[in-house]
Structure formats: C-alpha cells, structure tokens
Amino acid sequence: MKLLTAVIRPEKLAEVKQALTELGCNGLMITEIEGHGTQKGIIQQWRGERYKVDLLPKVKLELLVKDSEVEKIKRVILESARTGEVGDGKIFIFDNVAQVIRIRTGEEGEKAL
C-alpha cells in the first residue's frame, strides 16, 4: 500500500474527482490548504495599499492505494489536474503504510481500503 498525496488547483478538484471515480477509486481525503511554490502570488489591495498574497489556495488530496494501482491513479491525476501553467501542483508518493484499519468493522490491510 502507498499514500499518494496530490496538491492541485481547487478549480480542478471536480475533474480529478470525476476521473478517480471513473477509475473505481473512491476513498480519499481532501484538505483545503494554502501553498507556495514557483507560482507567483496575487496582488490585492486594501484602501489603496497593495500587498502580495503569496499563499495561494490549493487542495490536497490524500489517497491510500494498493501498490498495484499507484501508477494508474498517478497517471489519471496527472492528466485531469494539468493545465500546463505554473501552479498546477505536485504528486508525492509515500511507501511506508504499515497498517490500515476500517473503524466500522475492524478489518485490516488492503481490504480495509
């Protein structure tokens, strides 16, 4: 099992989620975060003083997926989240998932996903 974390543009969430659903991949966690990368910030103003907001709203998706599905899911996210412009985000994959338990049933391992 692996933990796949993707930071994407908020406006792309619907598309990514749609694509994941079509793939039969349902379990995920979504966190609204603010990110900072190579993308430059937004200039806002308040009563004439301008300021740069360099933390941009992003959405973080976290999925626990079977090893066998990592590649497929990675590809689907890459396709559905991409606009080609700076700020599209990143995918991080972590491979040390020691255990997964479904709280409702107590089931463990891949069948708990």
Partner: protein, 458 residues
C-alpha cells in the same frame, strides 16, 4: 392647505427614505445568493448603482419622465430639474413644466427624491440577474443608460401622462414601471451574457450554485419587505389615511400569502421547504401587489399573493430549464410577477376603492376593458425595454465587452475586478467545483479546455 402640504411632505419623504433603504435589501439578497468569491463585486455594484441613478436621474431622467412634452417623452425642464415649477401648488393652481406630478401637493424636491429612489430600484434589479460574470465597468455604463433614458421613457408613458396612461393603464406603484422594466433590462443582459461557467454541464444538466450566505439573504429580504411599506403606500404621495392604511394591509397580506404558498409549493415539489425559494416568494408577492395595492380588496390581495408565490416557484424552475441563468431569481421575482401584478389590476380591481376611478376588473364584473389596457402596457413596455436594453448591452459588448474573462470568473470577480476579498479572515472553499451533480459532470470538457488555454472569453 399649508398643513396638508406639511403632512404630505413628511409622508412622502419618509416613504422615499424607506425605498432608499431597499438598496440595502437588494445588496444583501443579491450578495447572499451569490458565491463568496464574488461578494465584493456584487456589493460594489449595488452600492454604486444608486449613486449612478442619483446623478443620472438628476441630470436628465426626471425631466424626460415628468417634463411636459409629447406622449412618448418629456421635452421640458429636461436637465437638472431646470424647469419652472410652483409646487406644492396643485391642480389648477399649479404652474410649471412637470404637470404630470401636479396632483401631488409637495415641494418639487420631495417629488424628485421620491421618484429618484424608484429609478434606483429599477437599476438595482438588473444587478442581481447579471451577477457573477459581468464587467463592473460595463454594468456602471449600462445603469446610466437605464436610469437616464430607458426607465424615464417608460415612466413617462405610464406615470408621466404618456400614451399608456391615456390608454387607461393603471400601475399604482410600479409593477411594470419599476419591476418589469428592471426585469426586461436584466433579461436582455442575461441572454447576451450567457450562463455562468459551470452552471450547465456539457450534457445539459443543471448544476445548482448555492449562495454563500443565507443569513444575509434573509436580512435583505426583510429589509425589502420593510422598504415596500414606503414603496406602495408612499405612492399615494399624500398622507390620505384611508388609502395608505388600506395599501399597507394589502401589501403585507400579499407578501405573507406568497411566503406561505411558496413554502408549501416548494415543500411539495422538492420534498423540503427551501429557504432561498421562500425568500424569493415573499418578494414575488410584494412585486405582484405593487400595481394593484390601491385598487383591490384585502381578500384579493391574499389571492394575488398566493398566486405570486406559486408563480415564482414554477418560474425559477422554468428559467433554469431554459438555461437562462439568473443567480438570484430576479427574473422570476421582478419580471414574471411584475407582469402578473400588472395584469392582476385588470382582474381584481374594484372601482374607486381608495378613490381612484380604475373601473372594475374582469372578476368584478368590469369586463375585459381594463385587462386589455393592462396587457397592452405589459406588451409594449416589454417590447420597448427589451429591445432598447439589448441594443445597449450589444453596443457595450462590441466596445468595452460585458463579460469578464473565464479565468477571472473562475477565480472570482473580487480578485479580478477589484483586487479585494470580502472575507479574508475566513477559510473558504470553492463549492461550485467540488460538487458532483446527480448525473453528469460539473465541468464541461470544452469549457475546461478553454480554461487550460488561459482565460478565453465565452
């Protein structure tokens, strides 16, 4: 005599202040029904539109509407209230160029201010329907045209002694003059703008886009209801005790009835009572009774309200099916019920109820005469306002553009048009893009591709 002038002026000015206060109601209803990312834009529009109306109506609108002239528009005292006028003298004693208002025994400035706040209302109605995608600049320019030219001309026809007035049309407080005019102008804008991005999917499904703050929307609706007690009873422009008391009660009864019928209808149709719909329902009842409030009995006002409440439900659903995207329900409230209210005079009027010789409506044995006059008013005003507004919108579209770029629309007009945020301390999400509709995709493929190419204008 002098005493009467004082009392009438107090009444007219206070009523006008209440109508002014409706600007707050509109601002809160419209921003509450839109998304947080566009709140600054909508608040800005609703705030500036009254300033625009104030100057536009002062500069030219009032003269065009009430100046003596032909049966189409005023030609005297056009600019800056510049004509002769010996108000508060009335009737035969009146000498001046605004004789269409010579029946009202208050100073010219009181007449002007009262009429001004009505003009402002018409302009505000447009704001909601075109929300969440229109360019701020273009909206401002359109508002000038509406309050300086389109609204005054129609006003002249009906309240300025023009051809519809002569034709026997009655519109006591403006179901047509104010609400339908606003509605038709909005419809033209909505059609030229097209729906908001993401509102309809590629395969034709409707994607609901919930408003960001129902507390504000409720607040706004109650403020509007409150303001309507200036709008309708104030339109007597005289503190006639029987008339104003009667109008207060018909106005309130229609609104209350509409709230209940909308709630019931939405409960039956959708399974649960929908607050946004109920709020629209109350306003629908108020719009519908506006033309008839002085001409119908309390019982009739109850009926008018009940019908208006159902009408708004049907109409909101219908516009959505027709893919006419009106974020706040302005068309259903102001246009549809403005028309219904105007026709209701032809159905429910009872001659001389508060002293006005309207003749009886169809349901009170007066035959179809009044109804036909009302219908003619509805049709001709619709034809004129819709085409005139379409012309202005189209001209704006071709010159300065009327729609923000797709990128701006998605990121929110607050960022693109204003560089402001309405709620910087709060963590917000972008709901329109995280909903999956019951079937179909929220984000149509072609639109999404357009986005990827970076801000293509629809």
């Amino acid at each position: 005599m002098e005493t009467k002038v004082v009392m009438d002026t107090i009444w007219v000015l206070i009523a006008a202040m209440l109508v002014f206060f409706m600007n707050l109601g509109f601002a809160m209803v419209e921003s509450g029904f839109a998304r947080a990312k566009n709140a600054v834009n909508i608040l800005s529009k609703n705030f500036i539109v009254f300033a625009v109306s104030s100057l536009g109506f002062l500069f030219l609108g009032f003269g065009l509407m009430f100046g003596d002239g032909n049966s189409i528009f005023g030609t005297n005292g056009l600019f800056f209230l510049g004509g002769a006028d010996n108000s508060p003298a009335t009737g035969a004693a009146y000498q001046g160029v605004y004789s269409a208002l010579s029946w009202a025994g208050v100073p010219l400035m009181a007449k002007f201010f009262f009429q001004l706040v009505f003009a402002g209302t018409a302009a505000t109605i447009v704001s909601g329907a075109v929300a969440e995608r229109i360019k701020y600049k273009s909206f401002i320019v359109f508002s000038f045209f509406l309050t300086m030219l389109i609204y005054p001309v129609v006003g002249h026809w009906i309240w300025g002694g023009g051809w519809l007035y002569q034709n026997g049309m009655f519109d006591f407080a403006g179901s047509t003059v104010v609400h339908s005019v606003g509605g038709w102008a909005a419809l033209a804008g909505v059609l030229l703008l097209g729906p908001r991005f993401g509102k309809y999917t590629a395969n034709g499904k409707i994607v609901p886009i919930p408003g960001h703050n129902l507390s504000l929307a409720t607040l706004g609706t109650l403020v509007l209801w409150f303001g309507w007690f200036g709008f309708n009873p104030g339109s007597t422009m005289a503190a006639n005790p029987e008339a104003i008391s009667h109008i207060v009660v018909t106005t309130n009864t229609a609104a209350a009835a509409a709230v209940l019928s909308t709630t019931l209808a939405s409960w039956l149709l959708f399974g649960k009572p929908d607050l946004g719909m109920t709020l629209n329902g109350g306003l629908a009842g108020l719009v519908a009774i506006t033309a008839a409030c002085a001409f119908v009995s309390v019982g009739s006002s109850l009926l008018i309200g009940l019908i208006a409440g159902v009408l708004v439900v049907v109409s909101v659903v219908a516009f959505d099916r027709l893919k006419i995207d009106d974020p706040v329900g302005a068309l259903s409230v102001h246009l549809v019920n403005g028309i219904f209210g105007t026709l209701a005079v032809g159905l429910f009027a009872q001659d001389g109820l508060t002293g006005v010789a309207t003749g009886n409506g169809l349901l009170f044995g007066g035959g179809t005469g009044l109804l036909v006059a009302q219908l003619m008013g509805v049709v001709s005003v619709g034809a004129f306002v819709f085409s005139a507004a379409l012309l202005v919108w189209a001209a704006l579209k071709m010159t300065m553009g009327i729609r923000v770029s797709l990128r701006e629309e998605i990121e929110g007009l607050d960022r693109g048009e204003h560089g402001n945020e309405a709620y910087p301390d709060f963590l917000t999400r972008k709901p329109a893009y995280s909903f999956n509709v019951l079937s179909g995709v929220a984000v149509p493929q072609q639109a999404s591709q357009a986005l990827n190419k970076g801000g293509v204008r629809l």
